[in-house]
Symmetry: C2
Subunit: 228 residues, 2 copies
Amino acid sequence: MDVRPSFDTYIGSDGVTLDSRDVALLRAIDREGSLNNAADSLGRSYAHAQRRIVELEEAFGSLVERRRGGSGGGGSELTDTARELLAAFERTRAGFEGVADIAETVLAGTIVEREGELVTVETDAGNVRALVPEGDGDVQLSLRADAVTLTDPEDTPVPEHTSARNRFLGTVESIESGERIARIAIDIGADEPLLALVTEDSRAKLGLEPGSDVVASFKATATRGIST
Amino acid sequence: MDVRPSFDTYIGSDGVTLDSRDVALLRAIDREGSLNNAADSLGRSYAHAQRRIVELEEAFGSLVERRRGGSGGGGSELTDTARELLAAFERTRAGFEGVADIAETVLAGTIVEREGELVTVETDAGNVRALVPEGDGDVQLSLRADAVTLTDPEDTPVPEHTSARNRFLGTVESIESGERIARIAIDIGADEPLLALVTEDSRAKLGLEPGSDVVASFKATATRGIST
DNA sequence: GATGGTTATATCTATGTCGGAACAACGTTC
DNA sequence: GAACGTTGTTCCGACATAGATATAACCATC
């Protein structure tokens, strides 16, 4: 099945939620110098754009400093609050993009212990600590490739000295090398190999090649599961 | 500013995108045993629900096995494809939820080197390797608290033996302890403390208390930035 | 004081979405 | 063969969204 996850980003405050459309409007105001030209450049109705800004400001505080009259008839520019809001939006969007873009490896298993959200899951590769909000029995754990850190088996801290609760010794199955980033597939005894995204730099320093032994570790708080 | 990120999850294939509304419909079919009752239980139009299912199936393959006539007049049930799709949706939703819910610490800095997406950023705490798709100059790095792993300063692998490209020695500033999970704020020399989400178990094993020395490390591929 | 381009506000209309109703087709059961 | 509750299909209308238009208010500049 050739599927691809995607998402819409929102930032909510006080009942109103700012979306990508609002972000585009704010950016256009910043670029064009006036709400009028901004709406125009986006092919959108000035009237609604103006009302929307007012609505957003009721929730987020002053966003656009608007002047009417004066030289050039007036104009508008973003406040610092608006710029912070835009940056926050972009940061969370980038975070979501990471989730959507980066490969995951799915680990099937069964919950054998639960302490609040924190569970212990029995999988083919061994026990895994993970966050599963609710449910019991069978689960699927999702491991983001950017959450897996690889270390040299000869120089890996003992479990008591690291906050990475999950660790597996495995052997490199294959490597997909990009310009600067490499995707390492590691056999840890499960059906599918564990994918780890590391810099090409790291791959070289660790001397990773197909067949290499390596320790893959990941945090319990970074592995999320769903009950199936 | 009391803001809160949120998101909508989608899964796209072949031009059509499945959203949470579609997921609700599929789940209702699974629960009710018929498309008719499913639409009814959701307070939605049967006609549109049926058309939507057909539309989804054109993109995702067979999702609902529908029988008309027969005992009870017929009925519908989900295919394995549909169940896999629901699980995939739920996994990515859980991933997004992590991004939206888990605290981030924002590190401001300037790009001093770029190799493709991979950049080196100069921050108050020192140089950080991160992924920043484009731009140069000033950036904001976003560090998810679940991406930071803590280790004992006495037993931390040397940089050549780990794929965690970023490491900082810091001191625990404060600890917010939950039932099973603790949020550790670590002073690493930046304006704001670095937040790390670890299990209470890990906190205890590492003996972390305010004032403790600790090494915080995180992967370059897990720290994403935006240019500001 | 006239000018000009802006903000502010109200209203109309086109469009798309979605629930609702109506009806045909289906096939097992009785 | 009648009954029944489903799927499949068409069409209508209510509603929300958003562009389009018109008009008033604003104010530094000339």
